[in-house]
């Protein structure tokens, strides 16, 4: 089974990207977690450019989402919401709405932030956006507050509770993938 992991942060030392690297480590056998590194290349959404085929990086993103069995998001929180570039990529991904590649796709959303709340508002916003796109938004939930403190000096997730939370979120996501696809 293929799970695409999307970090909402572009920063090289991003805590959210670090969480997704840990997710890959924690994934049980048979579940392949792939980190997406195409976010920065997605151009600004412009309906004039929204033609068939769309921009190459957008088409590659759509195709990748179509191919995988589920998508796992980790997002930071910017001004109580999700990062603009993440929203921009999803706006491209949602087109055309009735047949977009996220449609019925099981998705999980987790978040982290430097503050105490762990990005819960960004996670709620991201779930709202994904729901509107027609994705199957799962109950998976994990908000990691004071995120920087959870990583060691090599940038590796050092908090066992958070690792457990990642395993549970992934299990919740995988449970929503139709078994026929998982086989």
């Amino acid at each position: 089974m293929r799970v695409l992991a999307i970090s909402g942060s572009l920063r090289a030392d991003s805590n959210n990207t670090g969480l997704l690297r840990a997710l890959r480590e924690e994934a049980p056998a048979g579940i392949d977690v792939e980190l997406w590194n195409g976010l920065k290349a997605i151009p600004p959404y412009d309906a004039d450019d929204d033609v068939v085929p769309g921009p190459a990086d957008v088409e590659a993103f759509r195709e990748l989402v179509r191919e995988v069995d589920a998508v796992f998001f980790a997002t930071p929180e910017y001004n109580s919401s999700i990062p603009g570039q993440l929203k921009n990529a999803l706006d491209w991904g949602s087109r055309p709405l009735a047949t977009n590649s996220f449609r019925n796709k099981p998705v999980a959303v987790i978040s982290s932030s430097a503050g105490a709340f762990g990005g819960v508002w960004a996670a709620a916003e991201l779930r709202k956006v994904l729901g509107a796109m027609g994705a199957r938004v799962t109950e998976a939930e994990l908000a990691v507050g004071h995120a920087a403190e959870k990583f060691d000096e090599h940038g590796r997730l050092a908090d066992e509770d958070v690792r457990q939370g990642l395993r549970e979120a992934l299990a919740t996501l995988v449970a929503e993938v139709p078994t026929a696809v998982a086989a």
Binding site: L97, A98, R103, N104, G131, A132, M133, G134, A135, V137
Partner: protein, 182 residues
């Protein structure tokens, strides 16, 4: 029109099937300022020895806005991928003259709850082509959240965008199959 019109007190026996060209299954739900409506044109309905059954294929749902149609099929609303049908099976039908009450089980999104439709019945009467027809126009109001259709979005004034009470309507023209075989 027919001078032979008489007061009916019961639901006829035998097998009756909906003439779907002259039947309609629809819904209405109040939203912010008005009532939003749509219909599900792909359906079957039958009356078999007093039991009314109907199945509507939710993928055929029609509303005036294409993007909304896609949203209604998504997991946030009907989740048509996992629950492609909405169905109703009657348990008890009572008729008193023109009025009819149909108690039964309504299944939406895989969740079955009791529902009672009320409305009018006309006929049976023979149409211009010799078929015997029975008309039923009935509706019920359900709380959509009881069927796990919970989507909402607060408006800037704090009020929910969509009400929970949904009116379901069925306008059925049922044709006696016995007449069809002759």
């Amino acid at each position: 029109m027919s001078t032979a019109e008489q007061t009916q007190q019961s639901i006829p026996t035998g097998t009756w099937k909906a003439d779907t060209v002259h039947s309609r299954v629809a819904f209405e739900v109040p939203y912010a300022v008005a009532t939003f409506s749509g219909e599900v044109p792909d359906f079957d309905a039958s009356l078999e020895d007093g039991v009314l059954e109907g199945v509507a294929r939710i993928a055929s749902i029609q509303v005036k806005e294409e993007n909304l149609q896609a949203h209604l099929l998504s997991p946030e609303f009907f989740d048509a991928e996992r629950h492609p049908e909405v169905s109703f099976v009657s348990k008890n039908i009572t008729r008193d003259g023109d009025t009819i009450q149909i108690e039964g089980d309504l299944t939406i999104k895989g969740i079955t709850r009791p529902a009672t439709l009320s409305g009018l019945a006309t006929g049976p009467s023979v149409d211009h082509f010799g078929a015997t027809r029975l008309g039923i126009t009935a509706q019920t109001t359900v709380d959509r959240t009881e069927f796990d259709i919970n989507w909402n979005m607060p408006l800037p004034n704090g009020e929910p965008a969509l009400k929970n009470e949904v009116t379901l309507k069925a306008d059925l023209t049922l044709v006696s199959q016995e007449g069809q075989e002759g």
